[in-house]
């Protein structure tokens, strides 16, 4: 009886999610192929909106800005985040906990607070533009990198790094040759996560971009205020698909990594029980 009820509840839950989250997206995707400007009438299949999209210089520019921004901010955030994770990991237990709370707060903080705070801060030092958006994206990306590298760092056995130092490697060589290969999964998934977050962001970008610079999301917002054009459906559809793919990549990297680690440590454990054979 209880089982049945549980089953029913979980079905309802899935149905609601589909209804409220995925059906609108599905409608959006359908509309992006709709050969009619109407939002309710199906006028046949067309790729015109997509063609219009790529013909539009403004959109192309926003796309390039978005990608460059995502790539650069993810890369820099990864470098800073990995160094930060190493530093935090080496701290005493108390400081470690404090630092991890500081790392967590920006992730939970409302975007609008972060956005306005960063804007107020930036306008004192630099002109708002690509530079300030880049700085903002690096800032909110760093915690994601730290969060994805830290568990791996904790699981990693530090004595392999010490063994490398012991055998004559200096600190940098030991890190790149021995530690980094072990952390690569976390580093990659951190990078892709940061990349996705950057593409995905609207609020923080909106407040820190100033005039003249547009990413896809801020551009769509600007366009939609003027009136809804079907090109925007096509653009939103593309963004949705790109982000979906990135998330799948992140998940895949994470899962593979998990499996590899588990395999290694399971092997280690079973080895300890093995019999002595000469």
């Amino acid at each position: 009886m209880v089982e049945k009820l549980k089953d029913l509840m979980s079905r309802c839950y899935i149905a609601l999610i589909l209804l409220f989250l995925y059906i609108p997206i599905f409608v959006l995707i359908v509309l992006s192929f709709n050969n009619s400007r109407s939002r309710v009438v199906w006028g046949g299949f067309t790729l015109d909106w997509y063609r219009g999209l790529f013909a539009n210089a403004q959109i192309r520019e926003a796309l390039i800005t978005t990608l460059v921004l995502a790539f650069a901010s993810a890369l820099i955030a990864t470098i800073i985040g990995v160094s930060g994770a190493l530093g935090i990991h080496a701290m005493s237990r108390r400081n470690y906990r404090i630092m991890m709370i500081f790392t967590n707060i920006p992730m939970l903080n409302a975007d609008i607070v972060t956005g306005i705070a960063l804007m107020l801060w930036f306008i004192h030092f630099i002109p708002l533009g690509f530079g300030s958006v880049l700085l903002a994206h690096i800032t909110f990306n760093i915690p994601y990198v730290i969060m994805s590298v830290m568990p791996q760092l904790q699981r990693m056995n530090i004595s392999i790094y010490e063994a490398a130092r012991d055998l004559g490697a200096n600190a940098l060589y030991g890190f790149f040759k021995i530690m980094l290969p072990q952390l690569m999964g976390g580093v990659l998934s951190g990078f892709f996560m940061a990349f996705t977050m950057s593409i995905d962001d609207f609020v923080i970008t909106y407040f820190t971009k100033g005039a003249g610079v547009n990413t896809l999301s801020t551009m769509i917002y600007g366009e939609i205020r003027k009136g809804i054009k079907p090109e925007m459906y096509a653009l939103s559809t593309l963004i949705f698909l790109v982000v979906l793919c990135l998330l799948l990549v992140v998940n895949h990297v994470g899962a593979r990594n998990e499996k590899k680690n588990r395999k290694y440590y399971l092997a280690q454990e079973s080895n300890e029980r093995e019999e002595f054979t000469l």
Binding site: I160, E162, A164, A169, N271, F276
Partner: protein, 357 residues
């Protein structure tokens, strides 16, 4: 004349305000197999990590061949370490693991190949060059770790419980092999273990430590036969440790019984610790013993019976080849030679060992 290769000079180290090593001084001779032995948390690994360069002492110096190396990083020391476990590079095969140190020293490819082959032969692992560390058993991994350290021809090899993760049978086999390897390469071994049997069978010299303080340094035999304080006696093998009073030279009073011994030079009526090994006590008929008590348990241990006899408040541990029925009254005797008399601790250092009993 002693040839000291490595010296710790009044080293102290604290973690989080807790003193782990306290004014620790130690000289290690060239080509010696020296073992640090002590209970968990007594600072053995910390000592080794200070020698290896992974921890910096708060006070004191580390000297190598008379040269101060206290501030030198691990990669600049002519010392290599075999860690407890999991220290092979998992993304490299056995050959690459062993060649790691030599490649950093920019040795020629032929030299490296020969050295790797020699090292694998030394640890009995020929033909494993291309295997991944994850596909090896625990014992095999430790042998590769030893090979990886030894190819660099360090003057001192540090081993931190290298066999700690292995089961008993495997451990005993590896102990024999380690001694063989030590003979072959002729370098100084500094070995850490908390297993007293391992220490006793392998070492030239043993350092028994507790709470960051050296309790006794000596050969296996002298540590076992002549423990200098109650902590060492208790930690090394099983012992009966009981209060006694030295009535005069060669006569000690234990639980009211006057028993002849061989120790001289104590003050008259001095309070002492008396150590008697269970295998040295002899069970006899009640009236023939110095001490009389009731058998309260008898456990068969394979080669002997472990028998507990209660005399007054104290339970004597006796090892005997013959069982004794529980509940019977028995006497205990002992040869004068087998009684070990020790001064009661009065210094603060020795007091530490007492607390830990």
């Amino acid at each position: 004349m002693q040839d000291i290769i490595l010296e710790l000079d009044s080293v102290s180290k604290s973690f989080d305000g807790k003193k782990i090593l306290n004014n620790f001084s130690l000289g290690i001779n060239r080509n010696e197999f020296i073992t640090l032995l002590g209970p968990s948390g007594c600072g053995k690994s910390t000592t080794l990590r200070i020698i290896g360069g992974f921890e910096r002492p708060d006070e004191g110096r580390v000297l190598f061949d008379g040269r101060d190396i206290t501030g030198l990083s691990p990669d600049k020391r002519n010392v290599n370490t075999v860690f407890q476990k999991y220290s092979l590079f998992p993304h490299m095969n056995v050959e690459e693991n062993i060649a790691f140190g030599l490649q950093l020293k920019k040795k020629s490819r032929e030299y490296i190949r020969d050295k790797v082959r020699y090292a694998l032969k030394l640890v009995n692992m020929e033909g494993y060059e291309k295997r991944s560390p994850t596909s090896l058993s625990g014992g095999q991994q430790q042998r590769v770790a030893i090979a990886r350290a030894i190819v660099n021809e360090p003057q001192v090899l540090l081993l931190d419980e290298p066999l700690g993760a292995l089961d008993l049978k495997l451990r005993q086999g590896m102990q024999r092999e380690l001694i063989k390897i030590k003979k072959e390469v002729g370098i100084t071994f500094v070995y850490v273990t908390h297993d007293q049997e391992e220490a006793l069978t392998m070492s030239d010299r043993i350092i028994v430590m507790n709470k960051g303080i050296i309790q006794q340094i000596g050969s296996s035999k002298s540590i076992y036969d002549e423990p200098q304080n109650a902590f060492v006696a208790d930690f090394i093998g099983e012992s009966n440790i009981i209060d006694g009073i030295m009535r005069r030279d060669c006569l000690v009073e234990i639980q009211g019984a006057k028993i002849p011994c061989v120790d001289v030079g104590f003050g008259k009526d001095e309070l002492v610790d008396v150590v008697i090994r269970p295998e040295d006590l002899v069970l006899v008929e009640e009236e023939e013993g110095y001490l009389k008590g009731m058998v309260i348990s008898t456990i068969f241990k394979g080669a002997y019976y472990e028998i507990k006899v209660r005399v007054g408040e104290y339970e004597w541990m006796v090892q005997s080849v013959n069982p004794a029925p529980v509940g019977t009254m028995k006497g205990l005797t002992i040869l004068p030679d087998n009684i070990q008399i020790m001064h009661k601790p009065h210094s603060a250092d020795a007091e530490v060992s007492k607390e830990n009993d």
